[in-house]
Symmetry: D2
Subunit: 99 residues, 4 copies
Amino acid sequence: MKVLADLCIIPFTENLSVSKYVAICEKIFKDAGLKTKLHSYGTDIEGEWDDVFGAIKKCHEVLHNEGVLRISSELRFGTRTDKEQSMEDKIRSVEEKLK
Amino acid sequence: MKVLADLCIIPFTENLSVSKYVAICEKIFKDAGLKTKLHSYGTDIEGEWDDVFGAIKKCHEVLHNEGVLRISSELRFGTRTDKEQSMEDKIRSVEEKLK
Amino acid sequence: MKVLADLCIIPFTENLSVSKYVAICEKIFKDAGLKTKLHSYGTDIEGEWDDVFGAIKKCHEVLHNEGVLRISSELRFGTRTDKEQSMEDKIRSVEEKLK
Amino acid sequence: MKVLADLCIIPFTENLSVSKYVAICEKIFKDAGLKTKLHSYGTDIEGEWDDVFGAIKKCHEVLHNEGVLRISSELRFGTRTDKEQSMEDKIRSVEEKLK
């Protein structure tokens, strides 16, 4: 089962900037061989269900190991059985209607 | 790793009502032995990470097997290493401040 | 236009506990005359669109005035024109299918 | 008060594709003079609070006028008082840490 997801991870730290932790997660997704695209309020991820959710679990584990005591994440994730649809397909589909 | 989560699952169907599918997911969570609490815009879930995410995967699989061609879910999920905190603890903590 | 919403507000503070700030928002919603129900990962809110979103704006304003420098919120919100549906209706609709 | 937001709007229709409706919202955001960036699971939006939320309200109104009977949206939105931060700043901040 393929999934398209969009993860927004919020580590509770003293620092107002969370980009360091988002970068750690980016590396975890790349190491897992997942296709990702960073955007301004999260990271879009495409892959097999178990790979995507395995990497998300690793994000929480690694951030806790880095000393983050609390994490709150928010994930959008979609599956469909009528057709394959990539991250680019979804954007293209909207952009065609905007022409 | 324990997780508190809140799942809002949206099956794309011809029907405006999705309660039938939410009920199916409730049963999946109960069968998995997870603690859950239905609210007006989702279901709060408490348990071990793998149990919670295993059950969520099953929700997508079972709904697709029921003929739903597309599903979009949204999940909030939090982990913390400083202390154990149950679903009830979180509510109690706010209610005490409201007194 | 009536809306059912579910707000999860995350203030970036040095403190791991956010219940103090959730309690402030609860009071803002009550003062605005909105129907709310606290759950373990947010607050369900029911009311007219402008009232609900006006109160949410006030939450951000008041928390910033309390010294919170950064806030990240997440909101689910639904509208429908086929029928009126309260927060309780949604839960009842699922519970009937669980019997 | 400036806000960075990320909207995922789900119209309940018979059609599995929602790109037509996402395109309508894109036009609403453009007409409102808002900076937006479409991604694979939503649209990032930057602007003044009232402009952003006014446009989001219009999205729901216009989609209902187009015959959509039920809409469920999900929004991430952040405000900060310590500094101005654009959509591009957030991405740049992560990318610098990935070098």
